[in-house]
């Protein structure tokens, strides 16, 4: 569904991503793990068009994504749940979800989507008329995920959904993501620093370090790898 080939990108002359190739098949749950500054967020921003790549190609569903203007990419079926949540603070929870549903498919499926989102993340239903900016970090993260789901995406990209959250809240969000995936079969691409959890739930993983993919494989391969065990799993 998403094929990234030889992608290089950066903010100035020094590239943050170097010849990165990543494949996400339809229905797959792919995790990208790696330390701070490895280029994980830059990778997502390049997919969404906020960062312009200096080389390589991104194909999504048979479309050359780099030829599509950034605001149009959501309409192709890519939902980006950004790092640090980035909900719309002066909009209510409901309005944030409506913004997620700006896409054609989101508008079409609004009624059924909203029911499912409220079922998965009931706190959003309770707080539907609250301003998003007044919610806690965990609630905002759930809203950001709900907002992504409201677009009826083909691919849900999650950038560090556990960032800055209490461990118990992060666990809860992880469980929800796994439920959502099991019930919807949605294709997901996850970037995470909580390596153990990410690899456990994903079908396939990539390790990104200093802009390079240094390792890839299914979760057994990765978890059996000595470097991953030492550096990320603390074993």
């Amino acid at each position: 569904m998403l094929r990234i080939e030889g992608l290089s990108a950066g903010y100035s002359a020094k590239p943050v991503l170097n010849d990165v190739s990543i494949n996400v098949g339809a229905g797959q749950f792919v995790a990208i793990v790696g330390p701070n500054g490895a280029g994980k967020t830059t990778l997502f921003k390049t997919i969404s068009g906020i960062v312009k790549p200096s080389g390589g190609a991104i194909m999504f569903d048979g479309v050359d994504l780099l030829a599509v203007p950034p605001p149009q990419r959501a309409h192709l079926g890519i939902a980006h749940v950004p790092e640090g949540r980035q909900v719309f603070p002066s909009l209510t929870v409901m309005e944030n979800l409506e913004m997620g549903a700006m896409t054609e498919s989101g508008r079409r499926d609004w009624q059924s989507n909203i029911e499912r989102i409220f079922e998965w993340l009931p706190v959003l239903k309770e707080r539907r008329d609250q301003f998003a900016g007044t919610m806690s970090g965990g609630q905002q993260q759930m809203l950001a995920i709900g907002r992504g789901l409201a677009s009826s995406p083909k691919l849900l990209m999650l950038d560090e959904p556990s960032m800055g959250l209490a461990p118990s809240t992060a666990d809860f969000i992880f469980e929800r993501l796994i439920d959502i995936r099991r019930q919807s079969g949605l294709t997901m691409l996850l970037v995470e620093q909580r390596v153990a959890e990410a690899l456990e739930s994903a079908d396939h993983g990539y390790v990104l370090e200093a802009g390079h993919v240094v390792l890839e494989g299914n979760n057994d391969t990765l978890r059996a790898d000595d470097r991953v065990r030492k550096a990320y799993l603390g074993m």
């Binding site: 969404s48 068009g49 605001p71 950004p82 309005e95 913004m99 700006m102 896409t103 301003f131 677009s151």
Partner: protein, 311 residues
């Protein structure tokens, strides 16, 4: 006592129009974060647009002297909205929005210079095209009044033109609030204002949202300008007199709050009219700024400053 209520009424009437004028600027600032120095001059163009629509394009012949001016004023709104749309497309979009989002200062320096340049061109261009003679959109209503009362042996006189100005302002204000709070376009404008990057992730074209806001802001201020012109004569440099009031109103209301800008403008209208009770008219504007400073001293965010900062 009668003087007090008379000034209060006059303040409310003019305040509503000032409010509308401030809302136009507040919308642009709130959504785009662009400091538009030329906004007073867009208003000046709105006044002339209403003037020429009334006198030269046949609105006067069609609707007569009483209704005609207001028809022309309402038509000036769309005219200036289209003008604003193209000014944004050709100029403002080059120094704002996604093009400058990654620059230091988000392109604010270029915006200041550009809008100041546009202001100078509009003022001097206006002088060439319209001449320096004072113009006005007088209606028979400008010099007649309704008498309220007498209550307790007091009567308050409401200038008819200004009363209609207020009604038009409030009507537009209500329509705008509905647009901003209820419609998909309005919500996407607010989303683009809150967080342009996240808005892009949602599939909102932020530059197009900015263009919509700029066009709307110009149209609204143009109508406010036309309404003011029913009572105050104008000239090509009139924008300078109002742009300061507009900014004061926007700051009073709370930067970024569109509804707040209306109350900011209303406050200024009230202060301006009430000050005549105790101060000579030459000090009207000084009184505005004294009160302005006082309010900002006690409430630096303005009336409706964002309760949550933009992320």
């Amino acid at each position: 006592m009668e003087g007090f209520f008379q000034a209060l009424a006059a303040g409310l009437l003019i305040g509503a129009v000032y409010g509308l004028m401030c809302v136009g600027l507040g919308l642009i600032f709130g959504v785009m974060r662009v400091i538009n120095f030329a906004h007073g001059d867009f208003m000046m163009l709105g006044m002339y647009a209403a003037f020429y629509l009334f006198t030269a394009v046949g609105v006067q012949a069609l609707f007569g002297n009483t209704v005609g001016p207001f028809v022309a004023i309402l038509l000036a709104g769309p005219v200036l909205a289209v003008f604003g749309y193209f000014v944004h497309l050709a100029l403002i979009s080059r120094v704002s929005g996604t093009r400058t989002a990654s620059l230091e200062g988000e392109g604010h320096y270029a915006q200041l210079i550009l809008t100041l340049g546009v202001a100078l061109i509009l003022q001097n261009g206006g002088l060439i095209v319209f001449g320096s003679v004072l113009a006005s959109i007088r209606t028979p209503l400008s010099s007649s009044a309704w008498e309220l009362g007498p209550f307790f042996e007091m009567s308050i006189f409401l200038n008819m033109a200004r009363s209609i100005d207020m009604i038009v302002s409030l009507a537009i204000m209500i329509l705008l609030s509905l647009l901003i709070t209820r419609t998909r376009i309005g919500k996407s404008l607010r989303a683009a204002a809150d967080n342009p990057t996240a808005a892009t992730y949602m599939g909102i074209d932020v530059d197009r949202a900015h263009r919509t806001a700029f066009a709307l802001g110009c149209g609204i201020t143009a109508i406010a300008g036309g309404l003011l012109a029913t009572n105050y004569p104008f000239h090509p440099f009139v924008g300078l007199e109002y742009v300061i009031v507009m900014y004061a109103g926007v700051v009073l209301g709370g930067m970024g709050s569109i509804i707040g800008a209306f109350w900011g403008g209303m406050t200024i209208g009230l202060v301006q009219q009430m000050s005549t009770l105790i101060l000579p008219t030459q000090l009207q504007n000084a009184a505005i700024f004294a009160v302005f400073l006082l309010i900002i001293f006690f409430r630096p965010r303005g009336f409706f400053g964002r309760m949550v900062e933009r992320t």
